[in-house]
Amino acid sequence: MKRHATTRGGAWGFVVLGLLFSAALPTTEAWAQTPTARSFGVAVFTPTASTTSPLAVLPTDGSMSDASAPNVSVANFVGADNVFATATGSAGSAESNATLENVSLLNGLITANGVMALASSALTGSAAISDAAGSLLDNLVVNGASIASDVLPNTRIDLPGLGYVVLNEQTLTGDGVSSSGITVNMIHVVLVDALTGAQTGEIVVGSASSSVN
């Protein structure tokens, strides 16, 4: 009787393992097409701080994720109010967005009234496309200089003694036929050691990414 029960227990173990394994596997649809989407308000990576908040990542079941915070602050690096992040998608499409207000970086060296990052990717049947349409920088000031809200993608401005900032940074991936992706970082500060030139940290404000294949 005892051995019989043990055998049955082993069988149940296999069933449970099988269920767990099958649950971990993507669906057939997910195998065929895997959209990704991710957005966040603020990310800081330095020797003294490492944080990403709020963060939304498209779940593997292709539904939706969202996160928000009344304010985000990393002392001496960045602060922002009313931060929202959303990531959505399904087979053949993905979209994410992040919005922030009252943004200040590096103790006021860079300020903006509003920041919005939008990333969108889709398969059209004959092509794979991505864009950052709708992204914005509102009343951006960098080191005392006002920057137009329609700043060109990947505009770089030096920050003497600190490094540089890339505005409306857009990175495209994929072949444009069967795959496509985009990451847009509206404000991307790269901190550089003034003596050695080595990168010492990064600050990203308003990031959205999406991809399809």
Binding site: S63, M64, A91, T99, M116, A122
Partner: protein, 213 residues
């Protein structure tokens, strides 16, 4: 009494005409209150899915963006998934809506209006020629996160091809039981919106209709 008897055949004829009209036109027209979209609706509980998110610039709700400093825009993420009618006649639904209205006049204690769905209760086809890839009318119950008030909501969800910016459409309408936002919807006349019936045109992002999934 004799008058009623004489009208009997007339009532019968009218009833027969109405029945014939209904059989010829499976859709039903909904004439809701002034600012809410008006549509022909098709099958209820179709097996379908709509995903994505984006940005609307209402008012005016056309394909052009409002000035950044105006805060006249909304951002959102939304998805709905329907497997179609179940054998028992029910309509199992999954979905989510996250909605942020950044307009100054919609703020509560300095925070943008933030709506989040609690339950999705219906979906039906939305018949609109300007939504060439498909459209859905769906909704349920949501909560205004700023105040905790609950509302019934419906969204008018339009996929008009790729990319979504300047092509796809979306709008939302609220009704009680909450009071302060009862009747809330966006005003998106056409033109400038490329869609009729008060569907707003996306200025960023994408809506993706999946006829089956």
């Amino acid at each position: 009494m004799s008058t009623v008897r004489n009208l009997g055949p007339l009532f019968g004829a009218v009833a027969a005409m109405m029945l014939a009209w209904a059989c010829e036109r499976p859709e039903r027209a909904v004439d809701s209150h002034a600012a809410k979209p008006r549509f022909w609706f098709g099958a209820q509980c179709p097996a379908a899915k709509m995903t994505g998110g984006g940005r609307i610039d209402a008012p005016l709700g056309g394909p052009e963006k409002n000035p950044p400093a105006s805060h006249q825009f909304q951002t959102f993420g939304a998805h709905v998934i329907s497997d179609g009618l179940a054998p028992d006649g029910t309509c199992p639904l999954k979905g989510q809506l996250e909605w942020v209205d950044h307009r100054d006049e919609m703020r509560v204690n300095g925070r943008p209006l933030n709506l989040h769905s609690e339950q999705i209760t219906f979906v039906e086809e939305l018949l609109e020629d300007t939504c060439k890839d498909g459209a859905l009318h769906w909704g349920g119950r949501l909560v205004e996160k700023n105040t905790g008030e609950e509302y019934d909501f419906e969204v008018f969800d339009c996929d008009n091809g790729e990319p979504g910016a300047e092509q796809d459409g979306f709008n939302i309408a609220l009704s009680g039981p909450g009071e302060s936002l009862d009747g809330y919807t966006l005003n998106c006349p056409s033109p400038p919106s490329i869609h009729p019936d008060n569907i707003c045109t996306l200025t960023g992002g994408n809506r993706q209709f999946h006829p089956t999934h």
